[in-house]
């Protein structure tokens, strides 16, 4: 429970934090905007500036916490314990961002109540807001530099893939913080060793292998449990600390790649370790087998560990300590003994070999199972194994995709896709999509696929080409040796067979690997649980769309034209970015998710439902807006933002007619791995017709996401382009194949193109906002351009927003349980080189320049159910420094948090005095937490409606919908 909460907290904290970062970073952009600078430039800047802090968010906190006195740390954890405690979150962010000043402050307040922290946070926020408001374009530069400096200071936290090693080397000298970590070995024993805190996974792994005297180590790996208790593989090429995050330094040594033919292993010790793993797998139920097989394998275990059956010594109960099966019966034990007797004379090594010969034939041997849903929402299991991807429904195999059959593996949000090579009779690839419980699960299965494919299928890992065509997408690649390589290496092993002690497996094997036991028999239930059940899931699921509504009576909309941008990092170091844009004077932010984006595998029905809720949202919003433009809404809302790789800036054309630019920015990120079949070694029957040649995966991206608005656009433009092999070859070569991960990259500013899309998210919105009051018509154009550009740049094609707002969703061409493939012909296909990394952010911004009539609204009028209320009053002096043209004096700021089942509403009310006019601004942030089961659109609509009802005399000026898709906390 604690872990959940803390992860939750982190997420929020990061969210909170980012805005600040972005606000600051954005200022320069604003300045530049006057000349309507190109978005690319801006985004580039912003990427540089804002990314590192964002990335470092998580780290920063940790680092700082290191310096914090224990009491502070304790407090932190306390605050973490409070579910959905936004204040504490904000605080933490403060801690991280605030630097020394903050820390000092904290030290001052020995008790450091949450309230206080929150105050700090508030204060900071206030300050920043004030800053923003008052800052002229001239001022921005220094601010930004400052920020940059700050980020440099924090550089150690912001890991830039390319520089990571350098940095860590530097750091190594700086501080050699040691940490003790514990590794559970396959025989159940614990191996402890001391590591430098910044050690990479590899270091620990090698320590363990050395301890075990293991040379054929490539089949093994270290895993740890993430916050959601999910088993994650430790990436050897990355720092351990970055991967485990807040988890304990506890690892499990286990088999990662089950060799197809264990008899080909060179050393007995390797086989022994594999046996130990399989014994665990069997006794835990992960590897189902029949009674007879349980008995047989058990008897080999006895022979290996006890030697020949001794009628004197071995009475029947001598084996009762062993766990041969999940449900061990007397009958089974008798059978085991009976068989044990028959193995007389067999050496331990022979027994192990026999054990493996039998175990390897089991159908679930080496199959890594993942819960998922098919296009129809039916619970299935994805099994990744040496030969490919297996699809199970209940305990039945309903489909199988051999590696040679798969062209591309990708994931987008919580969806996992495989692109299938067309069969003999087919001309087009088809894509099969699966819905994972959350983004991290999707990424996990993707990674496991990448690794298995590389290990078992390729001769050597994909080489990292230095040609960086586009550095989008996860850089994750399997970096270890492939099976072919490890076999070759093993053949060179020249040492006397090492002595090793076969310790009795007995029953302790049970709990060795805490990995959730998913036996084929009961995974249907497990799947169900995974979906709806534990709050844990929800949290880790990061599917917590946020809705933020800011209401403001536009007291002086014309005077104050400042905007603050928030750049948020989501979930512990996750690549989630959001931009928050506030134009003082008028805006409503609704941060939310599904609003604009439709899940790829939504059915028509879903789409319709979705449309309905969108219209509802539209209605409620329009009611509050002076100039309703439903048609625009329709268009935009139904527009599928995901058409382009990274983000959809749909609004461009449609924004024009609006009084205010209402640019919508939606990012969609997808991770893709293109599988390149170098040579087809043993192509299974179905692939027989495929010529033995170098085959390159066509990197044709099918944009099947969201609505067909974009689809049709895509189709119009790219349909002509066939998945041509030559192109794809190039693309593949250009594919960045780094060992670093997408998240890292994302967070790392300069080198990453990835940052761009994110930046862009904020940009267009910003630009629209800035020029708002003065030049409305032109501003739209501005908005237009920047919006279009980002799309063009990465994809090499322009994305026209004029496309008809078709609402129909693409047909899900998901093949389940049958081999039939829907031809992708009609699908929009975009040729692209790599896909945007991880878009977790989708944002919809609706702004409206409506000058409020009401100038004064006391905070007391706000009828809100509070569960927590915090009020902060600032001294006028504090703000003086900032206000240049901004005479506003912050009178009060109040934050109210109310919670309901799945939403947390934070209402932020600020009262500012400007030249005798009092302006009250209410910003509502509604965080809708929950899994996809929640109708986010409806929740959003409801939220807006409520906001309107609560403040009838205020105008809703801006709605920003922001969806946090998944927090890729497992960025490792």
């Amino acid at each position: 429970m604690t872990t959940e909460v803390s992860s939750d907290g982190e997420v929020k904290k990061d969210e909170e934090k980012t805005p600040e970062d972005q606000q600051q970073t954005h200022t320069p952009a604003e300045a530049a905007q006057e000349k309507s600078a190109s978005v690319e430039a801006e985004s580039g800047q912003e990427a540089c500036v804002s990314s590192p802090p964002a990335a470092g968010g998580q780290k920063k906190e940790k680092t700082i916490s290191r310096f914090l006195p224990p009491w502070l740390k304790r407090q932190k954890s306390q605050s973490q314990d409070k579910p959905s405690d936004q204040e504490s979150v904000e605080l933490k962010q403060e801690q991280t961002d605030g630097g020394g000043e903050q820390t000092e402050e904290k030290k001052r307040e020995e008790e450091a109540e949450e309230k206080k922290r929150e105050e700090e946070a508030e204060e900071k926020k206030r300050e920043e807001e004030a800053e923003e408001t008052s800052v002229g374009s001239a001022d921005t530069q220094p601010v930004r530099e400052e920020k940059e400096g700050e980020s440099e200071l924090k550089e150690e936290q912001a890991v830039i893939p390319h520089e990571a090693s350098v940095l860590s080397a530097l750091k190594l000298n700086k501080k050699m913080k040691m940490v003790v970590c514990h590794v559970t070995l396959l025989d159940g024993s614990l191996f402890s060793c001391e590591l430098e805190k910044r050690a990479k996974g590899q270091y620990l792994f090698f320590q363990v292998c050395e301890h075990l005297n293991l040379l054929e180590k490539d089949y093994f790996g270290l895993s740890f449990k993430d916050n959601a208790e999910q088993k994650c593989w430790l990436d050897p090429s990355k720092e351990i600390k970055r991967q485990i995050r807040n988890s304990q330094w506890q690892f499990t040594f286990s088999v990662k790649f089950y060799p197809l033919d264990p008899s080909q292993l060179t050393e007995d010790i390797t086989r022994y370790l594999l046996c130990l793993q399989l014994r665990q797998d069997i006794s835990s139920g992960r590897l189902p087998c029949s009674f007879v097989t349980h008995a047989l394998l058990g008897s080999y275990t006895l022979q290996a560990e006890l030697g020949d059956h001794d009628p004197d010594e071995h009475r029947l109960d001598y084996i009762s300590d062993f766990q041969f099966a999940p449900n061990q019966t007397k009958e089974l034990e008798e059978k085991v003994v009976e068989l044990h007797k028959s193995h007389r004379g067999m050496t331990p090594a022979q027994s192990d070999a026999q054990f493996l010969e039998n175990a390897k034939k089991l159908s679930m041997y080496g199959v890594d199972l993942h819960h998922a849903k098919d296009s129809d929402g039916v619970d299935i299991m994805l099994g990744v194994c040496a030969n490919g991807l297996l699809i199970y429904k209940d305990r039945l195999r309903i489909n199988r995709f051999a590696w040679p059959k798969i062209l591309k593996i990708s994931y987008k949000r919580s969806n996992f896709y495989i692109k299938i090579r067309p069969g003999e009779a087919e001309q087009f690839e088809s894509t099969v999509g699966f819905k994972l419980p959350n983004h991290r699960a999707a990424k996990r299965v993707w990674k496991v696929c990448v690794e298995h494919h590389t290990f078992f299928r390729l001769v050597s890992p994909e080489q990292s080409t230095k040609t960086k065509f586009l550095t989008l997408g996860s850089k994750f690649r399997y970096s270890g040796r492939t099976q072919a390589q490890t076999r070759q290496a093993s053949s060179l092993i020249d040492r006397p067979a090492p002595y090793f002690q076969r310790t009795s497996s007995k029953r302790l094997s049970r709990s060795l690997d805490g990995a959730p036991v998913v036996s084929v028999c009961d995974y249907s239930q497990a799947a169900g649980a995974g979906e709806n059940g534990p709050p844990l899931e929800l949290n880790s699921d990061s599917k917590s769309p946020q809705v933020e509504v800011v209401q403001e009576p536009d007291a002086d909309a014309a005077t104050s034209i400042s905007s603050e941008t928030a750049f948020e990092t989501d979930g512990a170091g996750a690549p989630e970015r959001k931009s928050k844009l506030r134009v003082q004077g008028e805006n409503i932010y609704v941060r939310h998710s599904n609003l604009m984006l439709e899940d790829l595998d939504k059915t028509q029905e879903d789409v319709l439902k979705h449309q309905a809720s969108i219209s509802e949202l539209k209605r409620s919003f329009m009611e509050a807006t002076p100039e309703p433009r439903p048609s625009q809404w329709d268009k935009r809302l139904t527009g599928s933002p995901a058409t382009t790789l990274r983000m959809q800036t749909q609004g461009s054309a449609e924004v024009k007619p609006e009084v205010n630019g209402q640019p919508e920015v939606v990012e969609v990120v997808e991770e893709t791995v293109v599988i390149e079949e170098i040579v087809k070694p043993r192509s299974p029957a179905p692939e027989a017709s495929v010529p033995m040649e170098t085959e390159c995966a066509a990197e044709v991206k099918e944009e099947r996401s969201l609505s067909s608005d974009s689809d049709s656009e895509e189709e119009a433009e790219y349909h002509a382009q066939p998945p041509c092999t030559s192109i794809s070859t190039q693309q593949i070569k250009e594919e960045p194949e780094e060992e670093q991960e997408a998240e890292h990259t994302q967070q790392a500013p300069p080198s990453e193109t990835e940052s761009q899309p994110i930046t862009e998210t904020a940009e267009p919105t910003l630009s629209a906002e800035e020029e708002k009051p003065a030049e409305l018509p032109e501003e739209e154009e501005h908005t237009d351009e920047p919006l279009a550009t980002p799309d063009e740049a990465p994809n090499g094609h322009a994305h026209h927003a004029e496309a008809p707002p078709t609402e129909e969703e693409e047909e899900p061409h998901i093949v389940n349980g049958s081999a039939s493939r829907v031809e992708a012909e009609h699908l929009p296909q975009v040729i692209c080189c790599s896909e945007p990394p991880v878009v977790k952010t989708e944002m919809v911004t609706i702004s409206d320049t409506f000058a409020a009539q009401k100038t004064e609204i006391s905070t007391k009028e706000v009828p809100i159910v509070h569960t927590e209320t915090k009020t902060i009053t600032y001294e006028a002096a504090q703000l003086d420094g900032h206000g240049e043209g901004e005479p506003g004096v912050l009178m009060t700021a109040q934050t109210i948090t109310s919670e309901s089942l799945c939403t947390t509403t934070t209402t932020h009310i600020t009262k500012t005095l400007k030249g005798g006019l009092s302006e009250t601004r209410i910003e509502k942030r509604i965080v809708i937490t929950g899994d996809s089961d929640i109708d986010h659109d409806q929740a959003l609509a409801q939220a807006i409606k409520e906001a309107k009802e609560q403040h009838p005399d205020m105008s809703v000026t801006r709605v920003v919908v922001h969806k946090e898709t998944e927090l890729a906390e497992d960025e490792d």
């Binding site: 007879v292 089991l362 195999r397 199988r400 179905p686 081999a819």
Partner: protein
């Protein structure tokens, strides 16, 4: 697991009931000559018993169960485990009783399909020695397949949609280790493709011009090697020629002219069992 494929010691068969001619279920509407059918069946049993030396357990016919001669549908035996099915045709449900008794007697560990929602005909179950393919047909549903998967946990169980045919084995069967006999029809070829896609193993195929001829009985018997009971040249001349090309097999053409009229194929008429002394 593969090495012993086709090794059998026992066979369970059942006498043809008189009611078969009139009452047995059939997809066509052909007249069955009862005497001929009985004769055919006697020959079949005789081959198992005398020519191949299997220990044949012959269950008496039950006139109330006109289809009872097709014992294959009542049980799936693999190794020491016997799954007593729940046949898809309601009129056949009681056929399992005698089968269960017989298999229990043989010392197999019995798994029963008690789930009321599950149906499974043994004719939809193709065991290749490495895995199971279960045809999802009018007679067999997903639930039935799940129970089968549960009963035989060592093996992968893949489901294969069966259309336009009664059973999966109406157009295919094993003709050797790793050798699938398959009919030429579109339905058969489509099913084969799915099987190949679903499998981690590579199978050879023996394509026969006639779907019905693709149902043959393979055994690997000590002293006799590969044995194949297949269609006669009288019934399917073209297909018989294909079988005749199998040089390593002991080929035994067995007539099935009458039983086929009630959708009975060669595999349908026996349940083959391997009872070793030890394990």
């Amino acid at each position: 697991m593969m090495s012993g494929f086709g090794r059998f010691t026992h066979a369970v068969v059942r006498t043809v009931p008189r009611s078969l001619a009139k009452e047995a279920l059939r997809t066509g509407c052909l007249e069955v000559d009862l005497l001929k059918a009985q004769e055919e069946h006697d020959k079949y049993v005789s081959v198992l018993k005398h020519r191949l030396g299997l220990e044949v357990l012959e269950l008496p016919a039950d006139e109330a169960l006109p289809d009872c001669v097709f014992v294959e549908d009542a049980a799936v035996v693999c190794g020491d485990t016997a799954l007593i099915t729940r046949p898809g045709a309601e009129s056949r449900r009681k056929e399992t009783e005698a089968m269960k008794a017989a298999l229990t007697e043989l010392g197999l560990s019995i798994v029963e399909m008690t789930d009321e929602s599950a149906t499974l005909d043994g004719g939809d179950v193709l065991f290749t020695g490495r895995e199971f393919f279960v045809g999802l047909s009018k007679r067999t549903n997903q639930r039935g397949a799940e129970i089968l998967a549960d009963a035989f946990k060592d093996y992968a169980v893949s489901t294969i949609p069966v259309q336009d045919r009664l059973h999966l084995k109406s157009f295919c069967s094993m003709a050797g280790p790793g050798l699938i006999a398959i009919g030429s029809s579109e339905a058969a070829q489509k099913a084969l493709k799915i099987m190949q896609q679903m499998s981690d193993h590579k199978y050879d195929k023996l394509t026969l011009p006639d779907d019905l001829a693709a149902n043959c009985v393979y055994m690997n018997l000590p002293g006799k090697g590969h044995v194949l009971l297949h269609c006669t040249p009288e019934e399917f001349p073209e297909s018989a020629k294909v079988f005749e090309k199998l040089k390593d097999h002991m080929l035994i053409p067995v007539s099935n002219q009458e039983k086929v009229k009630v959708d009975g194929a060669l595999t349908c008429c026996s349940v083959l069992i391997n009872r070793k002394k030890n394990i």
